[in-house]
Amino acid sequence: MVLTVGSAIVALEAKEIIYGAIGLAGSLFGVAALFFLLEAPYVAVFQIAVYIGAVAVLILFTVMLVREEKWSKEVPATSFTKLAGALTGLAITIALAFAAYSTNLGSYTTISNSATFVNIGQLISTGDAPILLVLALVLATSVVGALTLSRADREEPSR
C-alpha cells in the first residue's frame, strides 16, 4: 500500500520524467500486489504482464526516443495551481474515504468470491464473448492508428 501510493506520488513529482516513468511502474506493481492480496492472481499476473511488460516499457522507450534537454526543464506549475490541485485531490480523497467508512462496507472482512481463472474463462467465452470481440477490434484499430500517426509524419519532407 505504501509502495503503491508513494510510487504514484513519485511518478508525478519526480524531477526527471524518466524517474517518473519508473515510479509509475512501481505504482502499477503495487496495485498488482493488492490484486494478489484480494485473491485474484489471474488479474494480478495480467496486470504485471500488460502494464509492467508493455505500457511501462512503451513509456520508457518514448521518453528515451524523444528526450532532449527540453524535457527536463518542465515549466513548473505556479504555486496557486499547485495549491488548488493539492486541495482538490485531498478533498476528493477525504470525501471518498468518508463515504467508504460511513457505510457498513467495513463489515465485509472475508473474501466470499474466490473466482478462479476457470470462472473468468467461462464468463469471457460465453456471456461476454461479444465484448471480447469488440475489445479485440478496438485494440487492433488503436494499434493501427498509432502506427499510422507516427508513420504519416515521417513521409513528409523534412522540416
Binding site: 490541485g85 485531490g89 485531498l90 494499434v143
Partner: protein
C-alpha cells in the same frame, strides 16, 4: 488491511493523487501518468467489490462471481490501447512542435 474499506481507502488515495496530477501538470506524459493512476484506482475498486461482496444472482448457477475480475481484464486491455494511442500522439506533437506542453499545443484552438 483486510476489510473492503481499506482497499477503498487505497483506491481513494490513488484517485486523489491522479486528480492532483491532472490539475497541476502541463506535460503530456505526466498527464498520461495521472490518467493511468486514475484507471488503476478504478480497477482496484472493481476487484475489491467483486471479491468481497456476496453474489446476489440466481442461486441455481453456483458459479463464483467473476464479473469484477472479468471487467478489470477488459479495462486493462483498453487502458493499454489508450496508452499506445496517447504515446503516438505525443510523439507526433513533439515532432511538430518540439514540445509536449499541452498549453502550447494550440493549433486546434478555435
Amino acid at each position: 488491511m483486510n476489510s473492503l474499506s481499506d482497499f477503498m481507502l487505497v483506491s481513494a488515495m490513488l484517485f486523489g493523487i491522479g486528480i492532483y496530477g491532472l490539475v497541476t501538470k502541463r506535460n503530456a506524459l505526466r498527464l498520461l501518468f495521472a490518467v493511468e493512476i486514475l484507471i488503476n484506482a478504478a480497477n482496484l475498486n472493481f476487484v475489491a467489490f467483486g471479491q468481497y461482496l456476496p453474489f446476489e444472482g440466481n442461486a441455481q448457477s453456483m458459479l463464483p462471481n467473476a464479473f469484477g475480475q472479468t471487467f478489470v481484464l477488459f479495462s486493462i486491455a483498453l487502458a493499454a490501447a489508450e496508452a499506445a494511442v496517447i504515446l503516438a500522439i505525443v510523439i507526433v506533437a513533439y515532432r511538430l512542435h518540439r514540445d509536449v506542453d499541452v498549453s502550447e499545443l494550440k493549433s486546434l484552438e478555435g
